[in-house]
């Protein structure tokens, strides 16, 4: 075990996989000479050369399509999209091609493609640079969508994603890049499609992923001091969604709060609340509480920006609501 950052976990895994398999290549804007906008690919161009680490022009639709086509012929491209906001110009390729090619053509070719991209946003990045679209990808059959919250999961899931023969959308978070955690030194993978109970508890289940898992774990720690025992389920994968793990937890605690950084309506928390009421209805002592972003294009001004995103405090409030049975009021 070594303690490393989330960024180091990603960077070292990319290096190891480039080393392991000559068919793996990295492609994206500014990942080479610039060393990566968020330095995830630092040093890799120097180590592996421009054939394996490809600086792409600003043409996301084009190069995502190129990566899909190359994957159909057996390469294993790992594409970086600088932030998830910029994938909208390429989403047609992801959804109309990558997700469908294996199924639509009767299983004749595989698309072993990984698209890595940070989602969400803190720090006043404003309306077009702070969005979350993982729910859109999670909606699409044929894709796999993962969103690790720790360096351990980042490493294990990135390995799994690169070795997987289907297109995987790998969701990162700017705010997690500098967080630290222990990671085994030997080769390991974290299976796609499997959630993890990151902290056991008995009063309430909090279901989260990515940065919100970190928030949930902090909150759980704080509430433990108040005598409230919070179980934290970290989804890790949004598609496939590990319903059994979520449901087992809720059946134990009888109360659930679901949290995500995206917008409230039609976001990830909608699916989570729907799933829980569906499969654990008789076990629920109170309605599932959702915590998510305010439904506005993220404003730039500091206070507004902070207010629009879910926080530890908004999670604590929701936990109190679910414990004391307070009802929502949509007015």
């Amino acid at each position: 075990m070594t303690t490393i950052t989330y960024r180091q976990a990603l960077n070292s895994t990319l290096g190891e996989e480039l080393e392991r398999d000559p068919k793996v290549l990295l492609m994206g804007e500014e990942i080479g000479i610039f060393q990566g906008s968020y330095r995830i690919t630092e040093g890799l161009l120097q180590r592996f050369g421009p054939k394996r680490v490809v600086d792409a022009p600003i043409a996301e639709e084009g190069f995502v399509g190129v990566a899909i086509g190359a994957a159909m012929l057996g390469l294993r491209p790992v594409v970086e999209i600088m932030t998830i906001n910029f994938i909208l110009v390429a989403i047609d390729q992801v959804v109309n091609h990558a997700s469908k090619i294996h199924y639509m053509f009767g299983g004749q070719v595989r698309v072993p493609l990984v698209i890595r991209t940070p989602s969400g946003g803190t720090g006043q990045l404003a309306a077009t640079h702070s969005q979350s679209f993982e729910n859109w990808f999670a909606y699409c059959p044929g894709l796999k969508v993962v969103a690790p919250a720790t360096p351990y999961d980042a490493k294990g899931l990135l390995r799994a994603a690169i070795r997987d023969d289907d297109p995987v959308i790998f969701i990162e978070s700017l705010a997690l890049y500098d967080t630290k955690g222990e990671v085994p030194d030997e080769d390991f993978v974290v299976p796609i499609g499997v959630a993890e109970v990151k902290r056991a508890g008995h009063d309430v289940t909090v279901v989260a992923y990515s940065r919100m898992t970190a928030v949930a774990l902090q909150v759980a720690q704080r509430l433990a001091e108040e005598g409230i025992s919070v179980e934290v389920v970290d989804l890790r994968s949004l598609r496939p969604l590990d319903r059994p793990t979520i449901i087992a937890s809720v059946k134990k605690t009888n109360r659930a709060v679901v949290i995500a950084e995206d917008w409230y309506s039609y976001g990830v928390t909608a699916e989570l609340a729907a799933t829980i009421q569906e499969d654990a209805f008789d076990y629920l002592d109170a309605p599932v509480q959702r915590v998510a972003g305010l439904e506005v294009p993220l404003p730039y001004a500091k206070d507004l920006s902070a207010a629009a995103k879910p926080s530890a405090q908004s999670l604590i409030n929701a936990i109190h609501r679910v414990l004391h049975g307070t009802r929502n009021n949509h007015g």
């Binding site: 639709e61 109309n96 199924y103 595989r110 023969d165």
Partner: protein
Amino acid sequence: MTKPALDNHTALSAAQVAELRHYYYQMVLMRRFEERTNEMYVKAKIGGYCHLNLGEEATIVGLMAALKPEDYIFTNYREHGYILARGVAPGPIMAELFGRETGVSGGRGGSMHLFDVSKGFMGGYAIVGGQVPLAVGAAYALRYQEQPGVVVAQMGDASTNIGAFYESLNLAKLWKCPVLFFIVNNGYGMGSTVEMGSSEPDLWKKGASFRVHGEQVDGTDVLAVRDAVRRLRDHAEATGEPAILDVVSFRFRGHSVIDADRYRDAEEVRQGREQHDPLRHYATWLQDHALADDAWFATLAEQVEREVQEAIDFANAGPDPKIEDIFTYMYASPVPNTPGPEAARRLL
């Protein structure tokens, strides 16, 4: 045909004669396949959207004649003829149109999504222009792995107006991907003319902003198409230089089988079919060069008739995919918690 490609046919080997005749066979096969496809659509044997290659036979056969086994082809939704001329048996193609398990895509794809990886026929895509970056990617993979071959990105004239095409031209040139941008210029994107959609209606010039070479060729002349493709293909393979080929042809019918083609002048269409019929042109040429006679044509017609009927019979005989197999092919690498048969049971 503008220029007879053959001056001294006495010098032809038997194999060469056979090949020239084979082009005609492929063109007739395509013609009859599409005519009967239309009939099958009307009989509701085929559903969804269905686009025919009638009028484009020389374009397609000329292209395929120039390609090598190591080449790959990505097309749009108007692709029955391409997979046929690439050498895939008519039966499994028709079976796909019928939605059978025995179809080339297991009945999952249908008319717009034909596929046969064993022949390098990589689909059948229905988002305009979307196949073009994929083709560049395949060419990229060839280069990366230092393999021979080139990739054809087939598309229609009206598809040259979408961003994906331009981004592809840039990437292909920049990254030295051996791609042939094969523009089937049938003059129309549904009801729109080339001039309505492209500020540069000389489509072969559309590489100008990217330093990509372009040429135009008469798409009703099978030999001209073959020779142009051969040249550009070999150059691309040798150098990694992509190129555009603007192949001018005439669309015999409406955009799809359900389009009544009302926006085109009936007389213009009638004349067009007469003047630009690639089969008629090539038949005359074969006769003029004494490469085929009436008896040969008659025998061929019968043979093709039979083959297409056999394809229809094959399609008819094929089983429908079973509903319990609806999740088959969902993922190549299975993972836990994937919606599967239980989900089917539960929702149905």
